[in-house]
Amino acid sequence: MSASRFTFNVSWSLSLFNVKRETIVFMGTATQKKGTRATLLIRGARLFDPARGLDRHGDVLIEKGRISSLAPAGKGSAAGQVIEAGGMLLLPGFVDLHTHLRTPGREDEEDIASGTAAAAAGGYASICAMANTDPVVDNAAVLSSLIEAAEAEAFVRVAFLGAISRRLEGIHLSDMWDMAAAGAVAFSDDGRPVSDGGLLRSAFQAAKLVGLPLCLHCEDSDLAGQGVMNEGEVSARLGLAGIPATAETAALARDLEIAAYEGGRVHIAHLSCARSLELLEAARRAGAEVTCEATPHHLLLTENDVAGDLDASFKMSPPLRTESDRRALVEALAAGAINCIATDHAPHAVQEKETPFEEAPFGVVGLETAFPVLYSGLAETGEAPLEKLVLAMSTSPARAIGLPEPKIAVGEEANLCLVDIKEEFEIDPESFRSKSRNTPFAGRRVKGRVVLTVSGGRVAHNVI
């Protein structure tokens, strides 16, 4: 048994005996090796880490990839490179629970290098890659080769989810235990729902043995039918087939019931409507521990944004809903009921999106725009506090999936990002590090550019 296999098995067997994953060295994910462990001083930043109650101006010294001291502003000593932050916001590095890296299979849309470069440019120190690739990540061999590739190619830490079902067909379970041993952080058939309730129950039972959560894409495919956007007044006007909110809520209600019955760990992906929040609230009242996420686009856009010129960059699953749904999501974020923001970064080739709306595939990119659009659209406008945004983008998702928590604290590995919240800029898809351009936020004037990202103690992005 090789050394690296051994470390994977340690991680697996510890979780098997219910050891808290946070307490062990995290071996399952690919830790990027690009760049050297940084020694640098970030001087004069606003240090903002709400999970630690930290909000003050100061200097952060990073030595050999670890935070070695937090000093009052101007007091930090310069051992190596100095970054003058000039009051910019220093945040714990973001964690994305929902990235489609498109590798293997569609490297023309995204590969590990471009996807993680995009992540770094968006302030993400860690991302979780979904399993709906070609081939599907449904066995340890595929997973291990991805972990190995990410160690060589990634700019930020990449954690991988394994599929729930073989080839995402929803019939047989994937090799869940082997994948857990090889380092999978969770299981998901995302892109598709698990339609068979019996299979979902089996998946919860299998996941329990290895202590990993299921990340569920809740959708009743029959109710969604051939729909391409939210069903309602706008779809009636346009003549487009609708996806009713019921397609999400009916599946969510069932999935929550099965999770509760099995006592399984569950994370609900991309909530899109108000009624889902009521179901979640009821499940939590009954004692279920459920984490969940909303995407930047569902927090900021509505079905009315589709109507303009039917740009396929506004087509995603679940679809953009009504303004009252959007407001409910934002209120839930502000109240903490939605504890994670995830991008559902879904790159698509230009030619696939440059078609009439109905023909185009679902999905939008999000890694490089998430913080600026949310900061400008929610925090600056007062719709949701900055504190909640930061928690939902860094601390909470790390906890939800058991990744090491990014902390601005002495002794911690440096996972952080520096954000300029003063200068306004326009979102320009041509400037993306991602290989794809399918963003609904093109041309939007925003603040909150990420100028520096440190992941795993290494500088992953620096445009200061």
Binding site: E231, R237, E354
Partner: protein
């Protein structure tokens, strides 16, 4: 008039009146002559790009262009490079290289006409985009009704049948209301789009409400779009409740249908052959109205190049990449 006709909402009421007046004054009578041709659009090029089967609309557009002396090219998807995997964008860029004045497009997807307007300087006219809209059908229906009733203000119309799948219903709902008409939609619940009440129509599930209207507008049951779905318990039961016959029509009421008709499904054979229906008048009107539209869209937009700026940046970018004429 706008550069393009993609939705009936691209036309103001004044635009509609202008097209109808042109059709009535200049073109309706032309079909009665021995020589049915005028030189109005000589030297102009019109491309009819059809990705769906069509008899009425395609022949009507082709004949309209030819009677105006334009050079008309018909491109049908079965015979074009689209069958070789060419994208809609590339097909349009290719056709655009011939510098057409007008591209008429029929496509199975909503928004296709608007989509191609980004890649050409030609005027784009939608001849039907999936379940989206069919603005020229709406124009000819308004024309037919005007011929029969005069002013349409306050006129009550019921649109009956498979509204969910009908681009005609969508354009007519908007267009009829623009002309001051009151619209009632009659269909079983599953054949009505969710949220359609917000577009200003009354909704009913019963043919009994035909008694309250002046005009009955029937729609074909689009069985080809019903595959695998259960929009009704059975076709027999649908026919029993929603097939309109002469007994439903009271004196003075006129019946319209955009065609093609399915006898015995949404319209009884007796009604299809009776004096009460205006189906063939609609077809005749279609020719005159489309001639008027082709003429007006060119004449009304014939302004100096400097002022005919494209609206969106994407078109401008396309304009810079290619040399267009106006």
């Amino acid at each position: 008039m706008n550069r393009h006709l993609l939705s009936i909402n691209d036309l103001s009421r004044a635009d509609i009146d202008s097209v109808l007046a042109t059709a009535r004054k200049d073109f309706l009578e032309l079909s009665q002559r021995d020589i049915k041709k005028v030189p109005t659009l000589r030297g102009r090029t019109i491309i009819d790009l059809f990705y769906e089967k069509s008899t009425r609309t395609s022949t009507s557009f082709e004949l309209a262009g030819k009677r105006l002396s334009a050079d008309v090219i018909n491109v049908k998807s079965g015979y074009s490079a689209a069958g070789k995997g060419e994208s809609l964008k590339d097909t349009v860029l290719t056709l655009n290289a011939y510098r057409p004045d007008i591209i008429v497009i029929r496509h199975p997807h909503v928004g296709a006409a608007a989509f191609i307007s980004r890649f050409t300087r030609a005027h784009v006219i939608s001849a039907g985009d999936g379940k989206g809209e069919h603005p020229t059908q709406c124009l000819l229906d308004i024309f037919s009704l005007t011929q029969a009733y005069g002013s349409l203000d306050g006129l009550k119309v019921a649109i009956v049948g498979d509204i969910l799948h009908s681009r005609v219903a969508r354009s007519n709902l908007l267009g009829f209301q623009k002309m001051g008409m009151e619209v009632t939609l009659i269909a079983p619940p599953a054949l009505l789009p969710r949220g359609v009440e917000a577009l200003g129509a009354d909704v009913s599930h019963s043919l009994a409400d035909l008694a309250n209207v002046d005009v009955i507008y029937l729609l074909r049951l689009q069985k080809e779009r019903h595959q695998g779905a259960n929009f009704m318990p059975s076709l027999r039961e649908y026919i029993d409740r929603y097939c309109v016959g002469r007994r439903h029509v009271r004196p003075g009421q006129r019946v319209l249908h955009p065609g093609p008709i399915n006898r015995g499904v949404e319209i009884e054979s007796g009604l299809a052959d009776s004096e009460e229906n205006m189906i063939l008048e609609q077809v005749e009107a279609g020719l005159a109205v489309r001639m008027a539209l082709l003429y007006r869209i060119i004449v009304d937009n014939a302004v100096p190049a400097a002022t005919s700026e494209l609206k969106d940046e994407k078109s401008q970018a396309a304009n810079e990449r290619f040399t267009f004429h106006v």
